[in-house]
């Protein structure tokens, strides 16, 4: 199946965020803070306003005059009023007739800020580390703590306690398209077209941040040139809308690539202390402590810590445990999601640790994992029951592949396994409308395709299977939040799993209605002959045109509305000591295998072969699964080996560009074999499980474990740059 968006994309006709255009449109630029932390004394825009081409320039005091209800959310001011919290935080915005005029004018802003000390290193602001905090610490914005069983006894009775500390780096999403939007304010309607993974989340953010009723905010998604988690909430839209309101003209704001690096909300560094008690070849208890850099995030946002931390126990049965995590505020841009936020990093920790215990015990690392891994009916750390799980089956297949590869690889090569899991976000709900006309089926929904194919292909694949129609008879329609049915967003690997179920339900409703109209039961399918659609059942073969009422024929066809809001999920609250934890919705696993060689004199790692075994439930479209897995592996190789945000001690990002922020290049990517593991159905339509995020998760662990296999040396820090590997090899 060829994706319906490809022809336009290949021909360069697709309108991405940065291509948006309107007659009379103005161009915007932002004034960025020159310091990472400081008290604002003065922001003077008088020279900016007199600069050539400038139409409006706004900063904190102007916001109040532009918003119908005065100020917006005091917790989240659009521009800082008293204090800047991170380097390059936007402190004013400018709209001008051309982009170069806007950017030139931005340099004329006179900004007077008294610098304050900055916090950039999470270990130094948390002196007790790795022990829990004893004194109140103003840097702590989140604290989560859960435990179960008698950990002290497990540790006391253990043959040994294996203790390690791991560190991981900040990584950027690096979508090829930067954030970009176009804002228009007409009467009471604040309208923005934007490159987003979630128009409805942007509407919610704008409504709360600007104090506007949701009905006054209309968000339309543009085609998205990659999101990877970076485009799930509002970022530029408030500035563009306020400028449009001030100027009385449409305003476009798009970040330069350098600004994308500087302002993007990304994964930040993390430190984990992990300790496991071992007796009779099994892990009997585990304690983990985590410090997470949350950037200049708002208080009480503990999603990153509370959601992520239980992943440190792995997809393994460990009934006796304690997890405790602290989110710390630093003078960096706020923490933001990145494809499976933080989980590739935490999987690197837990699965390096498991591998390291197996090696200490001199047992086969795969067998060791298989002795602990979840099966259906087991439960998560917080007591949720695991559904059908293909992880063990994937491990078994990986085990066979390792044997085969070892047989034909040079002796010095190392082989490593990474075991990861994810939870398909089926708890985030959504709705879809179907319209069946005599010639086509239209899927009306609230998302835009972000590149993965989950909308343009995934939703179509669900309708195909539900109705029997070929993809050529199905079209996805796009609109804005004023007219599209609600959906949570394209994130959490949930599009097919959750929104797909809305499509499935609407399809079932269509079938029921057609069955009622034709007096058939239980077997009606649709057929398409290239021109028109027919309803087919035993003894029945009728064109849809004959089954629709005249009104339906005039008004766009027979309609069905499907809603899917996942069932409420519970976990065992009695295990929680402090903070918010989140249930996992639908466990999906992946096992990866990497073959590497390591230059023993320089520490350089080369990945020679790679295999990915994915518990996909049911592959609705194998080509799409393969594409997601390959893309995820490549992205994960970046996290594993080369990608790393570097901050200076003054709090500025030192590598805001693609030369020094090193994405994997095609020449560095090994051949990747992709194996679906089917037969363990998930909660999605027809048993599908999400495949957007899982493929990035096991990669750093697989590579690190392969390095350990090749050299006997373990690297405790991501990424595995040649220098870090050289240190592990004790070369320096």
């Amino acid at each position: 199946m060829i994706r319906s968006d490809l022809a336009a994309k290949l021909a360069g006709r697709t309108t991405f965020g940065a291509d948006l255009d309107r007659p009379g449109m103005l161009w915007a630029a932002l004034v960025l803070s020159p310091v990472a932390h400081g008290r604002i004394r003065r922001v003077d825009l008088s020279k900016v306003r007199k600069a050539p081409g400038v139409v409006v320039a706004i900063t904190a005091p102007d916001v109040e005059k532009l918003l119908p209800k005065g100020s917006g959310d005091p917790e989240r001011p659009v521009f800082p009023t008293r204090e800047v919290l991170y380097r390059h935080q936007p402190i004013a915005a400018i709209a001008a007739r051309t982009l170069s005029e806007a950017r030139a004018a931005a340099l004329l802003a006179e900004v007077d800020i008294d610098p304050l000390p900055i916090v950039d290193d999470i270990e130094t602001v948390f002196p007790e580390w790795p022990e829990p905090s004893k004194k109140p610490n103003s840097a702590v914005v989140a604290h989560v703590h859960a435990r179960h069983g008698d950990l002290e006894a497990a540790f006391r009775e253990a043959e040994f306690v294996h203790s390690e500390t791991y560190r991981t780096a900040g990584v950027h999403q690096v979508a090829l398209e930067t954030h970009a939007c176009l804002a228009e304010v007409e009467g009471a309607i604040w309208r923005v077209t934007t490159s987003t993974q979630s128009p409805f989340s942007v509407r919610e953010d704008l409504s709360s941040q600007l104090g506007l009723p949701e009905s006054a905010v209309v968000v339309e998604g543009s085609w998205v040139g990659g999101g990877f988690g970076g485009k799930t909430s509002a970022l530029l839209e408030p500035f563009a809308l306020l400028l449009a309101a001030a100027a009385g003209a449409p305003v476009r704001l798009a970040l330069s690539y350098r600004e994308e690096f500087l302002l993007g909300r990304t994964t930040l560094p993390c430190v984990v202390r992990i300790e496991s008690s071992v007796a009779k070849g099994r892990v009997t208890g585990r304690r983990v402590r985590m410090l997470l850099d949350c950037g200049s995030t708002m208080p009480s946002r503990d999603f990153a810590t509370g959601y992520a931390i239980t992943f440190l126990l792995g997809p393994y049965n460990v009934d006796t445990f304690e997890v405790e995590g602290y989110g710390l505020r630093t003078n960096k841009p706020p923490f933001g999601p990145h494809r499976a936020p933080l989980i590739p990093q935490l999987t690197f920790v837990i699965d390096s640790h498991m591998d390291s215990i197996a090696r200490r015990l001199s047992v086969d690392p795969i067998a060791f994992r298989r002795a602990h891994v979840w099966h259906e009916g087991d439960s998560t750390a917080l007591g949720q029951r695991i559904g059908p799980s293909g992880i063990d089956s994937a491990l078994e297949r990986a085990e066979k592949t390792v044997l085969r590869w070892r047989g034909n690889a040079p002796r010095e090569h190392g082989f490593g396994i990474g075991v990861g899991y994810w939870s398909t976000g089926v708890s985030a709900g959504g709705e879809a409308r179907l319209r069946l006309t005599p010639q086509e089926l239209v899927i009306e929904q609230g998302e835009r395709e972000i590149g993965s194919g989950s909308v343009v292909r995934g939703l179509v694949a669900v309708a195909e299977r539900s109705l029997g129609l070929p993809a050529s008879a199905i079209r996805v329609a796009y609109s804005d939040t004023a007219s599209a049915p609600f959906d949570s967003g394209v994130f959490g690997s949930r599009t097919v799993g959750a929104l797909g179920q809305a499509v499935q339900k609407a399809s079932e409703e269509l079938v029921r209605e057609l069955e009622a109209r034709t007096g058939t039961k239980g077997s009606l399918r649709l057929e398409f002959d290239g021109r028109s659609i027919r309803a087919v059942a035993s003894g029945l073969r009728r064109p849809i045109a004959e089954l629709l009422t005249p009104e339906e024929l005039n008004e766009g066809g027979l309609k069905a509305h499907g809603k899917f809001y996942g069932p409420p999920m519970k976990f065992d609250e009695s295990r929680v000591v402090a903070g918010s934890f989140y249930p996992v919705a639908d466990v999906v696993g992946a096992v990866h295998l990497a073959e590497v060689s390591v230059d023993r004199e320089t520490g350089a790692v080369k990945v020679h072969r790679y295999a990915a075994f994915h518990d996909v439930g049911v592959a609705l479209d194998m080509a799409m699964v393969r594409a997601q897995v390959e893309g995820g592996v490549v992205m994960g190789l970046g996290t594993a080996l080369t990608e790393e945000s570097l901050w200076s001690s003054e709090g500025s990002l030192r590598n805001p560009g693609l030369l020094d922020y090193r994405l994997p290049r095609l020449n560095d990517v090994p051949p990747i074999e992709v194996y679906p593991v089917e037969g363990f159905p998930g909660a999605g339509p027809f048993g599908a499980k999400g495949v957007g995020e899982p493929p990035i998760i096991p990669v750093p662990a697989a590579v690190a474990n392969a390095v350990a296999d090749a050299t006997g040396a373990r690297v405790f820090e991501l990424p595995l740059s040649p220098e870090r590997v050289a240190r592990a090899l004790k070369l320096l």
Partner: protein, 288 residues
């Protein structure tokens, strides 16, 4: 940043524009792979660019064993000449190390010298080959030793009215260039080591990139290599001398300590590769 661009058709017109332009506001544009980045990052504030694209310096020529490389020739064309690989393996390896194939279709040797980066992959091998830089100005021509030409990052001995016309490499020499990076392709070298074996009696030359403030020859390492077929012990002494004497610093690409560790390995590899090349060229009997 906005800029205006002129594309002179011959050197005379280029010099007129260059002399008329004000220093700091005018910059020479070859492939642009270094300059556009500098403009973008505010390292260079030029508002007028003079493109060297149409100047007749976009080719190389052999004069016997000597090679003259036009300053505006894309590196990729030079790389594609099989004689470069056969006669100057170190130069060929260094060219292949620069960025990517796409980059080398634009990037030039003139631009690499003009940028004078401490991490340049080409300057070390030019140092080892004792290349000469041919400069031209309305006042005439001038030849400067590469050693004198490179001063510091973004700083050369070029006078404001001069253009780099070409680079001369006096003779074919057994040579090698080896490097280390975080990412193998399209990254900047943490350390680069160029080695060449001079004409009889055969003195070794060792040059380094990834040092501060500019790539350097390393006499201490050269002196350790006394024979044309150096023993393991000599190579080891040279490697240790390089680690001791190289002006490495810590920056965002590598720590000083890692660079010192790397350089020993790279010197060993470069010397061995050069010696092997020489042995191959000398035939089965080998040279003395």
């Amino acid at each position: 940043m906005p800029f205006s661009l002129s594309t002179p058709k011959d050197p005379a017109e280029a010099f007129r524009l260059l002399v008329a332009g004000r220093p700091g506001e005018t910059a020479l544009l070859a492939g642009g792979t270094a300059l556009l980045r500098d403009l973008d990052e505010g390292q260079n504030h030029a508002t007028h660019l003079i493109s060297l694209r149409k100047l007749p310096w976009n080719r190389h020529a052999w004069k016997g064993e000597a090679l003259e490389i036009g300053s505006t020739e894309p590196l990729r064309t030079l790389e594609n000449d099989p004689l470069v690989r056969a006669r100057l393996p170190g130069l060929h390896q260094a060219i292949e190390a620069v960025g990517s194939v796409a980059l080398r279709h634009r990037a030039t040797l003139g631009g690499n010298l003009g940028r004078a980066s401490p991490a340049s992959d080409l300057i070390p091998v030019l140092l080892a080959l004792e290349a000469l830089v041919n400069l031209r100005s309305p006042r005439g021509q001038r030849v400067v030793d590469i050693e004198q030409f490179i001063i510091s990052s973004r700083q050369t001995a070029r006078e404001p009215d001069e253009l780099i016309e070409s680079v001369s490499i006096p003779r074919a020499l057994p040579s090698a260039y080896v490097w280390q990076r975080v990412r193998p392709s399209n990254d900047i070298s943490q350390v680069g080591v160029a080695v060449a074996l001079g004409p009889p009696p055969g003195r070794w030359r060792v040059a380094l990139g990834g040092v501060s403030p500019r790539p350097v020859r390393l006499p201490e390492a050269e002196e350790a290599l006394v024979s044309r077929r150096p023993s393991e012990a000599e190579v080891e002494l040279a490697a240790q001398a390089a680690a001791r004497h190289a002006p490495f610093v810590t920056d965002r690409r590598a720590t000083e300590g890692y660079r010192r560790r790397l350089v020993t390995t790279l010197v060993r590899r470069a010397v061995r590769s050069t010696a092997e090349h020489r042995a191959r060229r000398a035939g089965p009997k080998g040279g003395r």
